[in-house]
């Protein structure tokens, strides 16, 4: 009887402490990288370059400027952690840029760059407010990509 009780307690403890995976957001757009690129737009959405530019410098948006130099002369204090994004579209195709925004770890597993549309279930010890959520929405990613491809 005692053994049985111990077992039951153990099972319930294991059940409650095991980290539960959050469900994927219902509107999560599944994507697939091929040859280090995502050629299809997320959910087939169309990006808006003007909104993308605004998101890139918005500290509560994509905040690309925190780490990258951007061709946005009216802003000061551009970051130097990542490569400059000036003329980035002459170095990468749209699909390559999309993968780098979505999940740079697929390109460089040691990168500091957050995956802005990475599968949120892969993140570790996420704060409750962000649990199971992507950093940006699919539309925001497409807006940023639409702006990046203009940087030739």
């Amino acid at each position: 009887m005692r053994t049985l009780l111990t077992l039951l307690v153990l099972i319930s403890v294991t059940a409650t402490t095991a980290q539960e995976l959050p469900p994927l957001p219902s509107d999560y757009c599944h994507w697939k990288a091929d040859h280090l690129a995502i050629d299809e737009a997320l959910c087939g959405l169309k990006g808006n370059p003007a909104r993308g530019r605004a998101l890139a410098i918005d500290p509560h948006g994509g905040n690309c400027i925190a780490c990258h130099h951007l061709p946005v002369p009216e802003e000061s204090f551009h970051g130097t952690i990542g490569p400059p994004l000036d003329k980035v579209a002459s170095r990468y195709t749209e699909g390559q840029l999309r993968l780098r925004v979505v999940d740079e770890q697929q390109v460089n597993p040691f990168t500091i760059m957050p995956g802005f549309y990475r599968d949120p279930r892969l993140a570790n010890r996420v704060a409750d407010a962000y649990w199971g959520k992507t950093f940006l929405t699919a539309q925001q990613v497409e807006d940023i990509v639409a702006w990046l491809v203009t940087l030739k």
Partner: protein, 259 residues
Amino acid sequence: MAGYVEMRALALGAAILVWGGQALGFEPVSGYEFLDESTRAMQDDEFENPGMVTVDEGRDLFNERRPDEEASCASCHGEDGEKLDPAVIARYPIYDEHLGGLATLQDRVSYCWENRLDRFPLPYDDPQLVALETFVRNKARGEPVNVQTDGPMSPLIEKGRQLYSTRFGQLDMSCYHCHVQHQGQMLRGQKLSQGQANGFPEYRLGTGRITSLHHRFGECFRSFRADPFEPGSEEYRLLELFVMQRGNGLPIETPAVRF
């Protein structure tokens, strides 16, 4: 797809080289070196340094003898802590079986508070403990950090190193990314330091508060949208050990002034 696998292998090799190289030729640099002239001057002048208020609070607590008590900290260690040995302070965190293994300076203060003064124990990072820690560590200002790295510390440092390079939160970043891989680079207007801990507890100009090391860890965790550990947790103790021994040789600056 073969190209992709090769690239990953190449990136892995490069990262091992970088990590190894930094471990071999690593020179610790205090956050002080990343400050502008006026902030350095503020830290150096004991009347200008706002953290000295906390040192004074700590001194008052050090000398406080409650009505039914026979002794204060000062009874053993001197009114101004003059009997404390700066070389011993510089060795924290220490390994002490009597204190249950890995022990921070705050653990040591807390031990006296509870056992020598027979007071009700305070939670980790209680403002009174932080003030006492600030006062005591300030006694060793200028003394080089000298944390033990061999013996029982060695496996604990390895655990700390693993936590240091573990990705956390929605931003999926580790301490290592900012403070090793990208130290010296600009995060917008802020230059990334090595994240050295030789000035803790430190006064932060941004918040206007004295800030313990464990509180600072919490701020970093929140900035990458991670669920922070508790002050005094095993994880933060191991991180403290790893970060402190990484700065062995740097002068203690408590209370440092930082942004």
